[in-house]
């Protein structure tokens, strides 16, 4: 992993889609800054952060993932979901409590890439992995991948489509065992992923990171009110432990409005159910016997 010595520009608050040229200019200035800038110059004096020369394996990637989950959640836009492409640069500070502060720059791709078109976005983020706090604190700005108007249009089209969907309670296992997602159900998957982004943001640490492995069931799909009310279960795959975590998620979405999410995940490994079926309800995890 390449580390740069120059401090990165402070992320712009508020607007998540600053004008691309301005950000690019800022990044350019930062990269071409004086090479002799000593480490730590311009850094805020708080909580005894010292620069960590030896980054724990994968820390930058962890930070990028957490930042992207938060970004996707905050954007609340199922048609504009992003995934990590490449971490380009970053550095980290550690404090006495072994908490991490990470500044990084990374590229992103669209979660749903369009045929032949390559949309590569760029983000800069500051991520705090704190031990007691429930979730990593994130500041992130990204270059715009899609025109705001286009995004709003697409979200609205998705919304209209979802409003007229019925009989989703039969939905079980998307994708199926063979990795197939019926095109008519693809928007459901995207919306489920959006809700899962909130969960994955909260649960990502410097050691743990998640992927949404499967939408295992739809508990409720209500469209009679204005918003889409979606109650479902997913399997999240935690990579370092290789565990499959069943989560029950309830989201309410209306295009252009911030996403509302509630969830409960099964936390501990539980003994094998006798029937072998997968259940992801809000069951209290059971403790295991001797090992």
């Amino acid at each position: 992993m390449q580390l740069r010595r120059q401090p990165l520009p402070a992320p712009q608050p508020g607007d998540p889609y600053p004008a691309a040229p301005l950000l690019a200019l800022l990044l350019l200035l930062a990269l071409q800054g004086a090479a002799a800038a000593p480490a730590g110059s311009g850094e805020p004096e708080d909580s005894g952060w010292r620069q960590d020369a030896e980054l724990p394996r994968g820390l930058l990637s962890q930070a990028a993932r957490a930042a992207l989950h938060f970004f996707n959640f905050r954007a609340s836009s199922p048609s504009a979901l992003r995934v990590l492409a490449e971490v380009q640069e970053g550095r980290a500070w550690i404090n006495q409590k072994k908490e991490y502060k990470v500044d990084l720059v990374f590229t992103t791709e669209l979660y749903n890439p369009e045929e032949g078109k390559e949309h590569l976005g760029k983000c800069s983020a500051r991520v705090f992995f704190r031990n007691e706090k429930p979730r990593p604190a994130i500041n992130i700005t990204c270059t715009r991948l899609i025109e705001k108007k286009t995004r709003q249009e697409e979200d609205y089209q998705l919304y209209k489509y979802m409003k007229q969907l019925k009989n989703l309670l039969d939905v079980v296992s998307i994708p199926d065992s063979h990795g197939h997602i019926d095109p008519s159900l693809r928007p459901i998957w995207d919306l489920a992923f959006l809700g899962s982004s909130y969960v994955m943001w909260e649960k990502t640490t410097q050691f743990l990171h998640y992927y949404m492995a499967q939408l295992s069931s739809v508990k409720q799909w209500k469209t009679n009110e204005d918003a889409i009310d979606f109650d479902y279960t997913v399997l999240l795959h935690e990579f370092s432990t290789q565990e499959m975590i069943p989560c029950h998620i309830h989201l309410v979405w209306y295009p252009g409005k911030p996403l509302k999410v509630k969830y409960h995940c099964q936390e501990l490994q539980t003994p094998e159910e006798a029937s072998g079926t997968e259940e992801a309800s809000a069951v209290a995890p059971t403790e295991l016997s001797n090992f």
């Binding site: 199926d176 065992s177 990795g179 492995a213 432990t241 290789q242 490994q269 094998e272 997968e278 295991l288």
Partner: protein
């Protein structure tokens, strides 16, 4: 025609739950009108329970009739007494039905040859085992199927051996499916097997490899787990062994090898996905390979294939210390990844297990490397998390194709750098 008749009888059997043991089908030739009439009289004798498949019509037309076992004697006496000529078309209807049933089941989901086998879909254990037999039968000079052990639940563990002769030549080992939910790996293994038989004698570089070395390919390294991913839980990773003292099932076969066994990088909790087991090689699926490798003594490259993450890894996973051959392994990995990427642009990272993915103890290639198998590598195939284990079947062949290029690079290097 006979097939249709048999089918209708079969349907009758299925619906009426009859059996046809000892029943015979007779073909009667009626020479003239009088004889036709006689057969019609026979038809009227209800107690005989005759089933005319082709009823009496006119002289010269064959008359086919199924005769239940109890009536056979009587009918034959009647025919002979009246000079009616007949032949026995079917000696025993039931055994014919049994054969037919078997054949119908056989042709329904299974390919008849490896040329009609569908490589672009995921298969069951039975289908893959059937494929192995087909391939070995089609290429008896090149391919043989070895059983190296039996799984915990008693399933045979098979390895395909590809050899053009010699006596215990230096060999390359490839395994797929050690973690059962990583379906693209078993599917790729099947494709590799076919590819080997296609390219030998056609592709000069590969022919040179197989002219001097043997290849061992274990496609379903964890058959119990694989069967379970089909029947009950698609996301099952481990073996299916019972652990005394726990209600949880299974050991992570990639934490069960005798290399840093039990150290940090595996779990001692039987319910965990990375449970290392009670002791090294406790899993018969692992022990079978260990025994094979030790008995063979001449394996020069060992490649264990997983998914997902798009990585090519070399030892170690259990310790930070670099292997003595680190520089060479890194070079080989670099070339292999370049070859892979050249096909579809799929991006792979490479490096040692512990620096590239995570700390993992008791892993396969750490053990094989410590045994002296220098070219020990692990692959993590597509993708990087969009679909994860549930990789769409449409990606099987592209994944196998690009991975094959990386494997070729490793195999060629092994061939050109004997040790």
């Amino acid at each position: 025609m006979q097939g249709l008749l048999i089918l209708s009888v079969l349907l009758g059997a299925v619906l009426g739950k009859e059996d046809f043991v000892g029943h015979q089908v007779l073909r009667i030739s009626a020479a003239d009108e009088a004889q036709v009439q006689m057969v019609k009289e026979l038809e009227d004798l209800e107690h005989l329970q005759l089933d005319f498949w082709r009823g009496p019509a006119q002289p010269g037309s064959p008359i086919d009739v199924r005769v239940p076992f109890p009536s056979i004697q009587a009918v034959k006496v009647f025919l002979e007494a009246h000079g009616l000529r007949y032949t026995i078309m079917i000696e025993d209807v039931q055994s014919l039905l049994d054969d037919e049933q078997e054949q119908m089941l056989a042709s329904r989901s299974w390919a008849r040859s490896t040329n009609t086998f569908n490589y672009a879909t995921y298969h069951t254990l039975e289908e893959i085992y059937d494929f192995m037999d087909l391939l070995a039968a089609e290429h008896p000079q090149l391919v043989s199927k070895l059983q190296i052990g039996s799984s915990y639940e008693g399933r045979p563990i098979y390895v395909l051996k590809f050899s053009t002769g010699g006596n215990n030549r230096p060999a390359i080992w490839i395994d797929t499916g050690i973690h059962s939910r990583e379906w693209v790996t078993q599917a790729s293994g099947v494709w590799f097997a076919k590819k080997i038989t296609q390219d030998y004698g056609q592709d000069p570089a590969f022919t040179a490899i197989l002219d001097n070395m043997d290849i061992f390919l274990e496609i379903v390294t964890n058959p119990d787990g694989f069967a379970f991913t089909h029947s009950k839980n698609r996301m099952w990773r481990k073996t299916r062994s019972l652990t005394s003292g726990s209600t949880c099932i299974g050991v992570d076969p990639n934490r069960n090898w005798d290399a840093g066994f039990g150290k940090a990088g595996a779990s001692s909790n039987p319910c965990s996905e990375t449970y290392h087991g009670k002791f090294a090689n406790s899993e018969v699926e692992v022990k079978s390979i260990v025994d094979f490798v030790k008995d063979h003594r001449n394996i020069k490259a060992f490649i264990s294939i997983h998914s997902y993450s798009q990585l090519l890894l070399y030892p170690f996973g259990y310790k930070r210390e670099s292997p003595a051959d680190k520089d060479e392994l890194d070079q080989v990995a670099k070339s292999a990844v370049e070859a892979l990427t050249s096909l579809y642009g799929t991006k792979f990272k490479y490096g040692s297990i512990i620096t590239t993915i995570y700390q993992a103890s008791g892993g396969t290639i750490d053990w094989t490397y410590n045994q002296g198998i220098k070219y020990s590598f692990t692959f993590e195939l597509r993708d990087t998390g969009r679909y994860g284990f549930l990789l769409p079947a449409s990606q099987i062949i592209p994944t196998a194709q690009e991975t094959w290029l990386a494997l070729l690079t490793i195999m060629e290097h092994t061939l050109n750098h004997p040790y």
